[in-house]
């Protein structure tokens, strides 16, 4: 009996039962751009960067179960154009100033922008007012860079069992909150040892006093484009920078 497989940009990709398109592609070493997906967590399909065309329909690769014989379009001008627009939306929605960001070089958003050749933010910047939270002794929260991927929410809830993070607001007003009446991270049970401290794909959750230990230019995505790092565990927050 043949193992089931799908066709990804014309290449046969085998998969096992229950795998998503994203999981099958990752095993096969094929890169599908993504932000909110992380192999260790339940997929949620909100960033939509991994939008592919499966049998002619646009779907999220991270949530769509692979099916035998499915024809999936991934690396095409149409899809990459849509992904670029999504990146531009994320860039103007928050306050992202890569040259002054200590996550530069280890940031998934920045790496994807390079990968997909996003040259400008294109849309008018929203410049939202998002105060930082420096209350915690070990960790700084810079909400300006939040892309609402919910990885910290999922890590704190499902791994740390602490529920330190959650989302509030709606629509363009949606925002990350912490589990304290004061609204301050210092008043939650958060600690640097938490999984949630190390899953932020962008520069929101930052370990203090580590910022530039690893010089810009020598960081993960400075060395090799993200599209060539399929299968390596994703950037792991602040701990990545010291390594």
């Amino acid at each position: 009996m043949n193992a089931p497989s799908l066709l990804l940009d014309g290449l046969p990709v085998p998969f096992s039962d229950g795998q998503t398109i994203m999981e099958a592609a990752t095993v096969a070493g094929i890169f599908i751009p993504h932000l909110c997906h992380h192999p260790e967590f339940k997929p949620q399909g909100s960033c939509k960067l991994c939008t592919v065309k499966a049998n002619g329909r646009y779907v999220s690769a991270c949530t769509m179960p692979a099916k035998d014989g499915m024809e999936v379009e991934n690396n095409s001008p149409d899809l990459n154009d849509k992904r670029r627009t999504l990146l531009q939306m994320l860039f103007v929605e928050g306050n992202h100033f890569c040259p002054s960001c200590e996550k530069s070089g280890n940031c998934l958003l920045q790496a994807l922008a390079y990968e997909l050749e996003m040259l400008t933010p294109h849309f008018t910047q929203f410049y939202p007012d998002r105060p930082v939270d420096a209350s915690h002794p070990e960790v700084l929260l810079d909400f300006n860079r939040c892309i609402l991927c919910e990885l910290c929410v999922r890590a704190s809830r499902d791994v740390d069992r602490k529920n330190v993070f959650a989302l509030s607001g709606r629509g363009i007003g949606k925002h990350l909150i912490v589990n304290a009446e004061s609204g301050r991270l210092a008043d939650t049970g958060f600690s640097l040892a938490d999984k949630a401290a190390h899953v932020c794909p962008v520069g929101v959750i930052l370990e203090k006093r580590q910022g530039f230990l690893q010089p810009i230019g020598c960081r993960r995505y400075d060395l090799q484009p993200i599209g060539m790092q399929v299968g390596r565990p994703p950037a792991t927050g602040s701990s990545e920078q010291g390594s």
């Binding site: 399909g45 627009t85 939306m89 849309f123 509030s168 629509g171 363009i172």
Partner: protein
């Protein structure tokens, strides 16, 4: 749902007024009545706000403790719904319905008038904490607008005289119970009755008919009827019921569920309001018939927050049904039939009309649509097999139980059987609810409702289709012009650009924010429309709208995002001159206007002399040295 203004002392309320122990004591009866169930969180928050006026920080902590949820999750839910407030609101909270039909009837000018008379700014609370004025999405009174809600109570047919009286009554702190009763009258305005609206069945007739047929034959009749969902998607009801009935219960203790989607949020539609107000027995009969068919023991009716005023009557009806053996144990005298119905209130979130977002809301969470599959028929409420049907669909199901599938299939067209309720409003002589067999032409509807000079009809609300005169020969049917019920008519004198701009802002306001394209895209589109409205638009902005439309259509998580640009797409294709006459140039113009940016500085310094202005020509000279 809201407190009477007399209940609290006259003082400006802030978070500091609510100490933790006092609040916890105040809220204890509420959380206890809801058995401290996390799934009742939204109901608890609504009632807590009813007592406290808004939801101060300490209240969220107390509620989180009581239902044993993380505080951040409670705050996340409270922050999601428009009708829940984390900041103080006025003791009289006045919300103008902001549908385009209200605007056409002068709601914008009326709101300005009220704000001026009360000396307040829109969206802000008066300094004495007495009153706040703002807009809200369509309140379902399009046939008797302009409409507003005062502390959740609907006021219809607002006029300038009424606005003046409202401002006086609010300022004099007259309790709303002493306001003129005729202001609160909500008319049914049924203009054309067909098999549903003309039916005179009594409570329980459909249930007894279903029992007499037996479950198998009932499902056969449903299949024969080819009834399709009236909520807009048009999914075959029988298929939904059959798969929910066959799907295994994941929890062996669990039951199947019937959910009635009464979150009638599509701007321009109000026919479910009429069904709930005047045909509630048919709705509940329909739910019971569905429960009988799939073997559900529990029914839930999700009532949109804007219709909270219907709650007492609906609950009274449920009590009567329990007394008459139509709910509870041994329903209809059948010893093995156990079924009861609960009503959950929404709190101002259009997205909850999407069935999986509705289920999330029913479970006390943020109303974010789920990933599908699995579909509710397999894993719905509490992950159990669940049938989610629209109010009108359930009424039709009751009729099919009574009169059979063949009778129903004989009405309407082959692919669209039966009748459809239309909520007709806008530039017509007789706005109201019209029931037609499917297949009726737009022209005939326009004739019947007295639309003399229509240039366009928005069918199915903002997420539906905008039809121009050359399309008026088309027919209301799933195979031609599908609709959830809204039918909004625009006369020749209306500006279709402003119609589309209203819809663009509606979607930006109602996006749940889960997925990137809808969260950011709906706001980008609304900004684009504002730029054009301000006279700074160009062809470039029109291309941008098309580009975002394509992205939202392809990549959005749910139907809200996928259809959010439809009204713009339609009006751009059919009413292009309405856009183009506003464009500053056909190439590109920046949104930023230097002189306009100085207006705040002018206001602050009290200057308006020529030297305080930055003329356009001068601006370019200075900007490019």
């Amino acid at each position: 749902m809201d407190r009477d203004p007399r209940w609290l002392p006259e003082m400006v309320v802030t978070d500091e007024c609510f100490d933790a122990t006092g609040v916890a004591e105040l809220l204890q009866p509420i959380v206890d009545r809801h058995r401290r169930e996390p799934e009742r969180l939204l109901q608890i928050l609504l009632e807590a706000q009813g007592v406290l006026g808004y939801l101060p920080r300490t209240a969220l902590t107390a509620i989180a403790d009581a239902v044993e949820l993380p505080r951040a999750r409670v705050e996340g839910v409270a922050g999601f719904y428009s009708f829940l407030h984390l900041q103080p609101v006025g003791r009289y909270r006045i919300l103008f319905s902001d549908n385009v039909t209200d605007r056409m009837l002068g709601s914008v000018e009326l709101m300005d008038r009220l704000c001026n008379r009360l000396w307040i700014e829109r969206g802000k609370v008066s300094e004495d904490g007495l009153v706040s004025v703002d807009t809200t999405s369509c309140t379902g009174m399009c046939d008797q607008g302009p409409a507003l809600l005062v502390n959740g109570q609907p006021l219809t047919r607002i006029s300038a005289e009424r606005i003046d009286r409202i401002s006086e009554l609010a300022r004099a702190q007259v309790p709303m119970t002493d306001w003129p009763r005729e202001w609160f009258v909500v008319a049914d305005n049924v203009r054309r009755r067909d098999v549903l609206l003309a039916s005179g069945w009594s409570a329980g007739d459909a249930m007894r008919a279903a029992v007499a047929r037996g479950r198998e034959r009932l499902l056969d009749e449903m299949k024969r009827s080819n009834l399709r969902g009236r909520g807009g998607a048009g999914f075959t009801t029988h298929t939904k019921w059959e798969s929910a009935r066959r799907a295994p219960c994941r929890d062996p203790q669990g039951s199947r569920y019937v959910v009635c989607n009464a979150d009638e949020g599509e701007p321009g539609t109000f026919k479910d309001r009429v069904l709930l107000a005047s045909h509630a027995d048919l709705v509940f009969d329909g739910m019971s018939v569905a429960a009988f068919a799939i073997g559900a023991e529990k029914g839930l009716l999700y009532l949109r927050g804007e219709y909270a005023w219907l709650l007492p009557a609906l609950n009274g009806n449920l009590m009567r049904r329990r007394q008459n053996g139509l709910l509870g144990v041994a329903v209809c005298g059948q010893s093995d039939w156990k079924f009861d119905i609960d009503i959950h209130l929404g709190a101002g979130a259009y997205v909850c009309g999407e069935e999986t977002a509705l289920l999330e809301s029913l479970e006390g969470r943020r109303g974010v649509p789920r990933i599908r599959p699995p579909y509710p028929a397999q894993q719905g409420y509490r992950d159990q097999p669940t049938v989610v049907n629209n109010v009108e669909t359930l009424c039709k199901a009751a009729l099919i139980a009574l009169r059979g599938g063949a009778w129903f299939a004989g009405l309407g067209s082959k692919q669209s059987t039966g009748t459809k309720l239309l909520s007709i409003a806008g530039d017509v002589e007789s706005p109201g609810v019209y029931e037609y067999p499917f297949g009726v032409s737009i022209n005939q509807v326009l004739n019947d409702c007295g639309a003399g000079n229509a240039q366009a009809v928005q069918v199915g609300g903002p997420s539906g289709n905008c039809l121009a005169t050359h399309e008026f020969t088309r027919r209301i049917a799933f195979e031609d012009v599908p609709t959830a019920g809204a039918f909004t008519v625009f006369g020749a004198h209306r500006d279709m650009f402003e119609v589309a701009r209203n819809f663009a802002h509606f979607f930006a306001h109602e996006s749940c924010g889960f997925c990137t394209p809808c969260r950011v895209g709906t706001t980008l589109v609304a900004n684009c429309m504002d730029k054009i409205a301000n006279g700074n638009g160009s062809q470039y902005d029109i291309s941008e709208i098309f580009r975002i439309h394509r992205l939202l259509h392809a990549a959005s998580h749910c139907g809200l995002g996928q259809t959010a640009c439809n009204p713009l797409f339609d009006t751009l294709n059919k009413f292009r001159p309405a856009y183009e006459r506003r464009l500053r140039s056909l190439d590109f113009a920046p949104a930023f206007d230097l002189d306009q940016a100085l207006s705040v500085a002018r206001q602050m310094t009290g200057r308006d002399d020529p030297a305080a202005h930055f003329s356009r020509a001068a601006g370019f000279q200075r900007a490019d040295p």
